[in-house]
Amino acid sequence: MKNVILSTSVVLFGLLTLTACSGDGGSLTGDPDPNGPGGSLIPGLPGAEAPPPEKVCFDQQQGYVGLGGIALHSSRAEALPGVDRDRFKPFSSLSGEFRRALGTPNAPNLQNSAATFGDAPPRFFAEPKATAVNLFEAYQVAFRLCEATNTTGSFASAPTEAAARTECASWERKAWSRTPTPADIDSCVKIAVTDSITENPPSGQRQTTPVRRWAYACATVYASAGFLTY
């Protein structure tokens, strides 16, 4: 009998808990797909559905009045919900992300790039800050990995428009965890097919090899904010 009462109590408690936490998951964000193109949480941007009411935190929060009638909440920062949530990935996760997205678990150690990204020492935290230098480093790292990884099959031949569309779409899906838009694919294809035909390094102009042409396009995807931020 004690067991029955105990079991019933557990079930009832669980139901109450579920009830308290139930509701539309998207009601917190206004968007069922937080990875949607263009950050569709923002009214007016592509992908946004019905524009949410323009409420700022002040409209929804509890106010407190302190001694002398001073509103203690008056200095709180105001912003629209859902805005400015993206952050630059720390190097500790970015290095693993490169391997995951490129499917190269045994890729060369990227630790040489840690200082450029301002990787915090062990047991310390420093909010990563994007700069031109670590952005360029991200492109270089991606280029090296793409060049080392994509060497056979379609990558052995110079990119055609059709092949580039296929590969670019695939890279973008993996890098961003969402389906790319046609414009996104066009940006990548342009580098592979049009912009990378000849190189002009310090030693003089030369024809770009197929593998390096693919690498230029591949690295373009991995140097985008969709991959470098979260």
Partner: protein, 398 residues
């Protein structure tokens, strides 16, 4: 004080300020076509050596404490001709630099670290004065404002006209971007690729207009850097010039080497931040003197020799150096004063306008805080349209 005698002799025979001592007299310094000098009319730049924790006034205002505090005596001080009495560690700098040292008060009226830093860097505004200065100085550099080797100072933040702080944690990537490399990505193609990466990123930037400001600026800066014609200067030789092996910026020596690299690459303002200067209890100043002599001065000697005395690059420069910190150290226990006696070294510095602190590390109540200080830097760099108004320290600028 044998050096004083030698200086007096040189002055007597007509070797004026700006000429260097010793080997330079017979060296290539007399071949004006081979190298450019540092002059007030040259391409301006500012190197700020920021001592996190504090900067003892014994260095720039030694006379205030003569035989009374911080262990200051005639034996460990040196007289800048026509200027302030300073710590003898500065006497190790090349004469051309030593003769252009002066002292300026930053009276921010705060004795806590955060308040002192903000007072000197932004006075609470959203964009640091250094960024405003770097932006206003113009020039052809694509990275206009840089920190070398990281570090944070309150108030050193924000963006102005596309100028934001770019930290250089490793010089390799920067050199690659400036010069190119046979095996890495081609600069021109990479520039086009970054442009496409930026186009793919438009949605994220729209969703986080503030949070991703630095990344957005980063795309613009990388593109500008990569599309610019590579200069012939041998950037890779800069770090070895300081005895630095490798390209990591992980000590003060390499920070100053990276600062030179960035200035030669066109940066207007560079911050080299050093820690360990919250020197409570350093009543005789021996701790800070030791750090100054062993850590700060040696690479500065190299910097001045390369940038001021023997600049082999055919570019006339006006490189100014600032040494500052959160605040000066107070008496008697080397705690927190309410302002900072900063050191300025530059071709346009009028050393006679130096501003001593009182013998109790007090500041002139009529002196301004950070904005006024940066108005002086605007004058020293001859920055037209500087956003700080008229120079608040006219006695310190030529």
């Amino acid at each position: 004080m044998s050096k004083f005698n030698r200086r007096s002799f040189l002055k007597a025979v007509g070797i004026g300020a700006g000429a260097a001592v010793g080997t330079r007299l017979a060296g290539p310094g007399f071949m004006p076509d081979a190298m450019a000098q540092n002059s007030g009319a040259g391409k301006p730049a500012v190197l700020v050596i920021y001592l996190g924790g504090g900067y003892n006034a014994l260095f720039g205002s030694a006379a205030s404490f003569m035989n009374t505090a911080f262990g200051v005596t005639a034996g460990n001080t040196a007289q800048v001709p026509g200027g302030p009495l300073v710590d003898a560690s500065f006497n190790r700098l090349p004469k051309a630099a030593f003769d252009k040292i002066s002292t300026v008060q930053i009276n921010h009226r705060s004795s806590d670290h955060g308040g002192g830093q903000r007072g000197g860097q932004s006075e609470g505004g959203p964009v640091g004065f250094a960024i405003q200065l770097a932006s206003s100085m113009g020039g052809d550099g694509t990275i206009k404002m840089a920190t070398v080797g990281g570090g944070n100072v309150n108030g050193l933040a924000g963006t102005m006209n596309g100028t934001s702080i770019q930290n250089i944690g490793d010089a390799r990537s920067t050199i690659d971007a400036l010069k190119g490399n046979d095996t890495l990505a081609d600069r021109a193609i990479a520039a086009k690729a970054i442009e496409q990466s930026q186009a793919m990123s438009a949605g994220r930037f729209a969703a986080s207009p503030k949070g991703l400001t630095h990344l957005k600026d980063g795309y613009d800066t990388v593109r500008a850097t990569l599309t610019k014609t590579a200069t012939p200067y041998d950037y890779a030789a800069v770090l070895p010039g300081y005895g630095v092996t490798g390209t990591a910026i992980n000590n003060f020596n390499s920070k100053i080497a990276a600062a030179e690299l960035m200035i030669r690459a066109g940066a207007n303002v560079v911050y080299a931040i050093d820690g360990g200067w919250d020197t409570h209890g350093d009543r005789d100043g021996s701790n800070v003197r030791n750090m100054m002599n062993t850590r700060i001065i040696p690479p500065l000697i190299t910097f001045f020799n390369r940038m001021w005395v023997n600049n082999t690059e055919p570019v006339q420069r006006n490189v100014n150096v600032v040494i500052m910190g959160d605040f000066s150290r107070s008496l008697p226990g080397s705690d927190h004063a309410t302002g900072c006696a900063a050191t300025i070294i530059g071709a346009n510095v009028k050393v006679g306008g130096f501003q001593r602190v009182t013998n109790n590390v007090g500041f002139d109540p009529n002196r301004p805080s950070g904005r006024g200080f940066f108005s002086l830097l605007g004058a020293l760099t001859k920055t037209a349209g500087a956003p700080f108004g008229a120079n608040a320290h006219p006695d310190l600028a030529v």
